[in-house]
Symmetry: C2
Subunit: 463 residues, 2 copies
Amino acid sequence: MTATPALASVLERIDADLDAATDRLFDLLRIPSISTDPAHKADCDRAADWLVADLAGLGFDATKRPTPGHPMVVAHHEGPAGAPHLLFYGHYDVQPVDPLDLWNRPPFDPAIEETPKGKVIRGRGTADDKGQLMTFVEAFRAWKAVHGTLPCKITVFLEGEEESGSPSLIPFMQENAAELGADLAMICDTGLFDRDTPAIVTMLRGLLGEEVVITGPDKDLHSGSYGGAAINPIRVLSRIIASLHDETGRVTVPGFYDGVPELSNSLKAQWEDLGFDAQAFLADVGLSVPAGEAGRSVLEMIWARPTCEVNGIAGGYAGAGFKTVLPSQARAKISFRLVGTQDPFKIRENFRAMVRAALPADCTVEFHEHGAGPASVMSTANPMFAQARAALSEEWPRPAAFVGAGGSIPIAGYFKTELDMDAMLVGFGLDDDQLHSPNEKYDLRSFHKGIRSWARILDAVSR
Amino acid sequence: MTATPALASVLERIDADLDAATDRLFDLLRIPSISTDPAHKADCDRAADWLVADLAGLGFDATKRPTPGHPMVVAHHEGPAGAPHLLFYGHYDVQPVDPLDLWNRPPFDPAIEETPKGKVIRGRGTADDKGQLMTFVEAFRAWKAVHGTLPCKITVFLEGEEESGSPSLIPFMQENAAELGADLAMICDTGLFDRDTPAIVTMLRGLLGEEVVITGPDKDLHSGSYGGAAINPIRVLSRIIASLHDETGRVTVPGFYDGVPELSNSLKAQWEDLGFDAQAFLADVGLSVPAGEAGRSVLEMIWARPTCEVNGIAGGYAGAGFKTVLPSQARAKISFRLVGTQDPFKIRENFRAMVRAALPADCTVEFHEHGAGPASVMSTANPMFAQARAALSEEWPRPAAFVGAGGSIPIAGYFKTELDMDAMLVGFGLDDDQLHSPNEKYDLRSFHKGIRSWARILDAVSR
């Protein structure tokens, strides 16, 4: 399929304008908008101002909107009658840069670097998420430059608190629900499947976090004086953790698999076509054998199956040397990744009941909540999903796939729950982008083909 | 049984001299001989000088003996031909006093305080061990004052590094083995069974300490991206810990019970006669049900049965909040208390083999040693044990018992291994003495009757 003339001229314009687009991105990257650090409050504000000005320059009705935290940027642009209305989401805030001495260049002095894998844009926020959000802004710019207008109605919605827990997001969505309504939300904060294969994330696992604190004796004891007679909460906790999985790797919490769907044949076929190298995926972290449920592929394990993991454990003395303490308490942080329609609240209840039932005499347990969000499963029935998939397949060497994501991206769920709007997650990051780490980068190819991808998607969904 | 006239006059002298004895103890207590703190090196030296001078004043050939650390005090006094030769051990160094603000009076300004349970001597080192070592010194003084000599040959051996790991002890014993040889070592650093029941410790559990570090992935992973596919070392470690005991509370390490003796009927009868209140012992630390091996009494569990405890565990993120990490490593400190002739080296080997055999694919384990000492079981066949027991029974309201001690007191083992000498552990401390804690105390009754106890023991073993 060749590009329509309308699209082809936009793609040409994007190619010709790449250096200027990169310079504009550098301007934004130079603003150290670290949302979690109060010392950078003015910088966050400055980044919002920069984006408002840039979008206003493209003819958007762009405003900076105050919140109790960092401001939101909301911008609207009309489109032809009959064309869809899309909302584009990104975030302008970035992660802190510590430890600074591990950076090979100042994190807020971006530059193009040559690497064995090609040119990269190095700097904090390049991939997460300023480089990504600028892919759609630059696509708008090119379209506008060529055609004087945009092919569909567009709302841009950028937040400045994504890296600090998005405290203002849901209240702002609720207060501005009417203004933020659109046909579909496009979220640009994810990655390619691999260097050549674009991806639309259609399944996001949910997350239930629980902290379990088990108390035995009412004080730390000497293991010489009491060992053998007094219950040891580390042993109790270990026994409970050991009981959470059966020998086949299945989670034993009662009712846990209620609402866990089997993969559709079409998705299964797509995933098989991805040619995912499970051995390489594991070898990259020093492993060789998939540790999950027997009979499942690694992609199923990380995208489509629920899990129970222990994220942290502590009890007694674990520092240098040895102390013969028999501790009063032991604690573990346990998380469940959820899929399909698994109910986090029901699972929390069943998990807690299971732990309580396993407690021996003289032990008590306290639970602390650390979030409970269901999985997000996108309604790919909306024809824009197939259109976007085809458009991405045109731009990249390999066909685009509907994929899952093991982690949780709460914003997708919020668009559904707060605004009753489906979301499509398309992004151009790579696994080696060093998100949240020193020397974050974004491939120049991701930036360039990302802009072109959005132009193709705009064209595809508005035809 | 009434006291012999020789003994009766010594006991009278002890009673008459109690105030002066207490003043002498106060002098020693005022020297802040904290061995672990280099700032108090001169104070340790001063405490040794004080003891040398005091013993010399009693007619001992007393010397301060340098070591690479704090000095030893060694003193000799002749006795009648045919009488036994006893070595008395104590330590003049004390624990640090932090946190100072929890003390109700300056720790090195000792005083007699009235309490609901009677008069106590308050101050650092009162019970551990200056007050205890002065019980035998004062017994010598009283005997000498009344009879002009001592009833047996005596060597006093006092160290100044007991609270800082005794680094110089074994080398000093080895270099001075001939000089330190005696018929029996009397160690005064333990407690009464209860306020009215004196005790001779004849069984000390040994200790094997092991640290287990399990590694899965070669770096910390995101539990969203890898959870389900990557092995989690916390889960592996928990499973191993859970497998260390069976449902009856027995340790499952192969060969673990080799060398674990059953209690003799006479010891069993003695322990039953103690009227030990297991419920009160457990209730004191918030517990109600013995957690050890089924079918064993609490005293057996803590004195005569071997154990396996987890003293510390750590892995992943256990701080405030929640991090969805799937950690690379998890670690636990595990200790075994040993009895009878259990071989710590054999058990270490079997434990490590058991852990290695339980490792799933892709996991590795590292072990770190934290000591391996067998149990000490005293040869109570030496008639001096029965004599001392009878003598103690004369002094206190209830008969003395041969008891066990759950903790480890390495000095008893060293006398055997380095000097081939049996040891008898007799002391007058109580559970509420606040050893190693703020507001340490020693009951004035312990001090007074402790001195009288030693006079009775000297009389009994030398008749």
